[in-house]
Symmetry: C2
Subunit: 493 residues, 2 copies
């Protein structure tokens, strides 16, 4: 266990993030530049994310499949925008089985090309549509500057790929999956998000329209948490994905694709964690509650461990992800420090007095507003009877989940600046990392590019109506021309 303290968020956010990832044993750099090793504590979070999303995908009618890691270089080149977007990021296999390959193989950066080439074989008639598939896979994009979870050369993700009879159905699917992402992020990640459409310059290479889910991190930089693309007929035309329509004509199918990745783990860390370490929403915590037994004498150890084991089995049977920390090599204080750093939502302390009282002490990882406040400078402690313990703990986990969402939402709102109309003011806001800045935009790429060049901020999304300000901005903040949209500006990861 490292003795030195974590860097503070307020002093060096980036160092704080890196230290949490390393010390909580979530991930680590590998000997291969840009590739990360996801350690069990980090992978456990990803597994819970996968399980929840996979269930939501299946409930919306999707099936999993698996397509090859390798894609012929010629496939990527077929869609003009697609190759333009991805060519600089490709990893290329040129040798196999001891020989130079005739055609180099690309390690998939995304799978539109190979997947739609297969769909073209499977689809003859409108009866074969829709195709609603998803794959869980690794992808590779050659990145020069990488950060654990946020931007790595190889990352794990899911990519959904669908084919539809009509444009409208494809658009509905694109929005449905964006909605699934939003629900997942709010309910599981306890993360408030803004959804909307991307500007043309931020669109996925090959899409007609890209929708995104954007979140605000504690350093007031934006993180794109997921995207959902309406691909129109772009790929269908290139890969001859055609079908006999109800009217008897040969038509091109309409495609969508959508994905989220291990980047979400980075978003989770930067949304909830504090200067004591990781904070994990209970629904995504591999360990939801840790039991730390406290005793001095051998006689005390005997009674305390007996009670601790009883409680452990009881909570496990109640479906709570619980761990009993019975390490002899660490003091209770060292264990507290360790589990706080690792972000376990609830800590349970059981000492001889607790055994006598048939109760336990619960210390939540974050302050719960609805429970009794602690004395200044002290941790919140809840004294709980062992009767109905399972239900009580479940309730506390729910409360903690809700509290995290409430905190994150309040922070996001406090750092959303609306009604900015002066460009000089906006530049100053961006300069001091003020958060999401809502302002008018004329819709011209030139104005967008100017802001990006001068401030490094980009249009995160043109937000959906429910995220728009009550009063619509009248003019573009850059050029002063009549505003076409209200947009959200921020620097982003």
């Amino acid at each position: 266990m490292p003795e030195d303290k974590l860097p503070k968020r307020s002093e060096d956010f980036s160092a704080w993030y890196n230290e949490i990832v390393q010390r909580a044993e979530l991930a680590e750099h590998s000997p291969v530049r840009g590739c990360m090793v996801i350690r069990p504590n980090g992978y456990g979070i990803w597994e819970l994310m996968q399980q929840a999303l996979d269930r939501m995908f299946k409930e919306t009618g999707h099936q999993n499949a698996y397509f090859p890691l390798f894609i012929p270089l010629s496939f990527i080149a077929k869609e003009a925008k697609h190759v333009e977007g991805f060519a600089p990021e490709l990893a290329i296999v040129t040798k196999g089985g001891g020989k130079d390959l005739e055609e180099p193989l690309v390690v998939r950066p995304t799978s539109e090309t190979i997947i739609y080439s297969m769909y073209a074989k499977w689809v003859q008639s409108y009866r074969d549509l829709p195709i609603l598939m998803n794959q869980w896979a690794n992808v590779v994009r050659w990145e020069m500057r990488t950060r654990l979870f946020l931007r790595t050369m190889e990352f794990l993700w899911q990519e959904g790929h669908t084919a539809h009879e009509t444009e409208q159905e494809a658009e509905e699917e694109t929005l449905t999956m964006l909605g699934v992402y939003r629900t997942f992020m709010e309910e599981y990640l306890a993360m408030p998000v803004v959804t909307g459409v991307k500007s043309d310059s931020e669109r996925f290479a090959g899409a007609v329209r890209t929708y995104a889910v954007e979140a605000l991190m504690q350093d007031n930089k934006a993180l794109q948490m997921g995207t959902s693309h309406n691909l129109g007929q772009n790929f269908a035309k290139v890969f001859e994905l055609q079908f006999q329509s109800r009217a008897g004509n040969l038509e091109h199918a309409w495609n969508t694709s959508w994905g989220v990745s291990t980047r979400m783990v980075g978003g989770l860390i930067m949304t909830h964690s504090d200067d004591d370490g990781l904070v994990t929403p209970p629904k995504l915590a591999p360990i939801q509650l840790v039991i730390v037994p406290i005793f001095k004498t051998d006689a005390e150890k005997l009674t305390v461990m007996e009670a601790a084991e009883e409680v452990f089995l009881h909570l496990k049977a109640a479906g709570i992800r619980v761990k009993l920390d019975d390490r002899d090599s660490l003091s209770p204080g060292a264990k507290f420090y360790d589990w706080e750093l690792k972000g376990v939502p609830l800590r349970m302390e059981i000492g001889p007095k607790d055994v006598q009282n048939n109760s336990v002490v619960i210390v939540p990882r974050i302050l719960l507003d609805h429970e009794e406040a602690p004395k200044p400078g002290r941790k919140q402690k809840l004294f709980i009877s062992r009767l109905d313990l399972g239900d009580r703990i479940k309730h506390l986990l729910d409360e903690l989940q809700t509290q995290l969402m409430r905190n994150a939402h309040a922070r996001r709102e406090a750092n959303s600046i609306r009604g900015v109309t002066d460009y000089t003011e906006m530049k100053a806001l961006i300069e001091r990392d003020a958060g999401f800045i809502y302002a008018g935009w004329c819709g011209m790429t030139e104005c967008e590019a100017k802001v990006k060049e001068e401030t490094k901020a980009t249009i995160r999304v043109i937000p959906f109506p429910e995220f728009q300000s009550a009063t619509k901005p009248e003019r573009c903040i850059v050029c002063g021309v009549s505003a076409k949209h209200e947009v959200v500006w921020a620097k982003a990861y």
Copy 2:
């Protein structure tokens, strides 16, 4: 739906296999030579395999993690036997981000090297041991002759990698995981297997000892279903995976690795399927029961569909993976054909008369010995009351699972030839694909090589005691010298 009949197993086993994989929409060749596309019907089986194994791995104390796809070429080269075994099969990335790489990257064929190089960073003392990790991943081995599921360039698998304080602990782990595989194959795949140790020439490149799980397919060829390796200190020495021992010395850790892959789906097909198509053990069937409504008039349709939907919801709530086939475009007969081909364990027919009788008709995919036998040339039909339907169906699924195991076991036993002592006889047996041939072996590589050269058969395993013949063979079947082991010979996939 293809009109032409499946090839018969007895006439062309290989064509029969390929046609089942394609027509049941399990998998397909991709545009990249040697890589396959796993379609939802095939992937659904793999997902159920993953879920069961993952649970078993976690119950035996393992955690999941994820290590990079790319491995520096120099890492692979560090362990002499390892590079010798894998060098001819490597896919190599030489370009990334538009530039030639200084050091080529290998697309992992297996991850011992990268994983133990990381363990070396994490382990200082015996207190950090054991490390018990597993990863679900894709791997690539450049294969010239590929077959869907059985041998593909890219395949999906899990690879467990552990590090231990003592040689004995590593050996115990190796055997524990072999046992987990055996249990999984018997209980889920309904597949009888022989476990034992591999001869030196069949050992994993870099292992001290390789244990394997071998099964006999319907064409009497063996399929290696999984392996578990005791790696000794080979990789620990090369990657300096050392720890401070309890006695205070610096010692090398002891490693094990073990894996099973999508190849198991091929094994499932070749073990249970018949001339009508795929047969899936209920525990691994994405759809366990399909409901086919039968009606003529619109009035009948109304009552039948209402009953079918009720039954569907009832069975779903009971935890059965059920599908209601309400396609209007197909006749009931065409549906029967389709679901038989796709291997759904139970078919339920509901017609107007069944609605009246408050009953359903069940047609099991294979003959159930414990149920009433059908008339010659007819399917087995079970008439079942709708009272207690959930329990009855669950019982039938269990019965079918057990029946498959019984059938496969009887077939394996009928094709296990024991006590062969004459080499000419053995050659004749191998020539006519007689199955598993048990015979004595002196332990010399020369004798093993001679058989392989003359017959193409290999030693599948030196079987564990519970699989050995009552009478031990006295002499090596090849050279006549005193036998060291009884071994199992067969041609293999």
